[in-house]
């Protein structure tokens, strides 16, 4: 299982990485912007991508859309604090497979990852 974590917060990248290791996800890459994520995807084909929304340079929803133009197989879980329902609907419309509201803990992340991978 390969995972790409996209978030501008180092704390969140490290938290997801730590939890993912406990889910037996072994190969993990991280990106701190949407643009860096797109560059990483040129050389890395993840099974799962976790994507923040509010990021500098390129927001997560634009990044999801850009990924879907070239990659239809990776599962994408958007993880954001933005809690209006329309945000989750928009994420799915742009090509994400699931939405997890921050704050999260190991249990809620695990459930969201399982849902996105099994869907």
């Amino acid at each position: 299982m390969k995972l790409l974590i996209v978030d501008d917060s180092n704390f969140i990248r490290r938290a997801i990485e730590r939890h993912a290791e406990s889910f037996q996800i072994k190969e993990i890459r991280t990106a701190n912007t949407g643009k860096a994520a797109l560059r990483t995807l040129n050389e890395f084909a993840p099974d799962l991508i976790t994507m923040d929304i509010t990021m500098p340079e390129m927001d997560g929803l634009t990044c999801v859309e850009a990924i879907r133009r070239v990659n239809t197989t990776s599962r994408i879980l958007v993880i954001s604090a933005l809690s209006d329902r329309s945000m989750a609907v928009e994420a799915l419309k742009r090509g994400a497979n699931g939405f997890l509201l921050k704050p999260f803990n190991e249990e809620s992340l695990r459930e969201a990852v399982v849902d996105v991978l099994e869907d």
């Binding site: 938290a15 509010t54 604090a81 809690s83 329309s86 945000m87 190991e106």
Partner: protein
């Protein structure tokens, strides 16, 4: 304003319960005294608000509290920058969660983090409400300075 403050209080309670697994005591919100800046602690983050609202949401905490909270959440890497990153993440999450009640027009910026106790230039024309939070004997503060357009 009462409804809006309640939204942020609920967001703070939910944050500590989810991340730390331990509840925080959230005090009664009060209007900021123009002369006093007693809510300023050594790590802070400001989130700019735009869209159908204007102003900012500010979260201030001590480095000791942030390090204790990080440790409880499983983070044992003690780099100084990580506490600043973390305070930004707390502000981002509490502000973002308020969107559920304040609507999709409540738009938040990426956090600007501040290290060290310093005067913060908050918008003067908007009243500032301070929400005190006590967690494990540590104090922190959310400052809400927003108005609808």
């Amino acid at each position: 304003m009462e409804t809006q403050l309640k939204t942020f209080v609920n967001g703070a309670v939910n944050y500590f319960e989810t991340v730390a697994g331990r509840s925080a005591e959230v005090g009664m919100p009060y209007l900021k005294d123009t002369e006093k800046d007693d809510f300023l602690l050594d790590c802070a983050a400001v989130i700019g608000i735009s869209g159908s609202y204007r102003g900012c949401v500010y979260y201030s905490a001590s480095r000791q509290m942030l390090e204790a909270l990080m440790k409880l959440s499983g983070e044992d890497y003690g780099a100084p920058d990580l506490a600043l990153d973390f305070v930004g993440e707390i502000a981002n999450t509490i502000a973002g969660n308020a969107q559920r009640d304040l609507g999709a027009g409540f738009l938040i910026s990426v956090p600007v983090v501040i290290q060290g106790i310093s005067t913060v230039r908050l918008p003067r024309e908007i009243p500032h409400f301070i929400i005190p939070i006590k967690w494990q004997n540590y104090k922190s503060y959310i400052v809400i300075a927003i108005s609808s357009k």
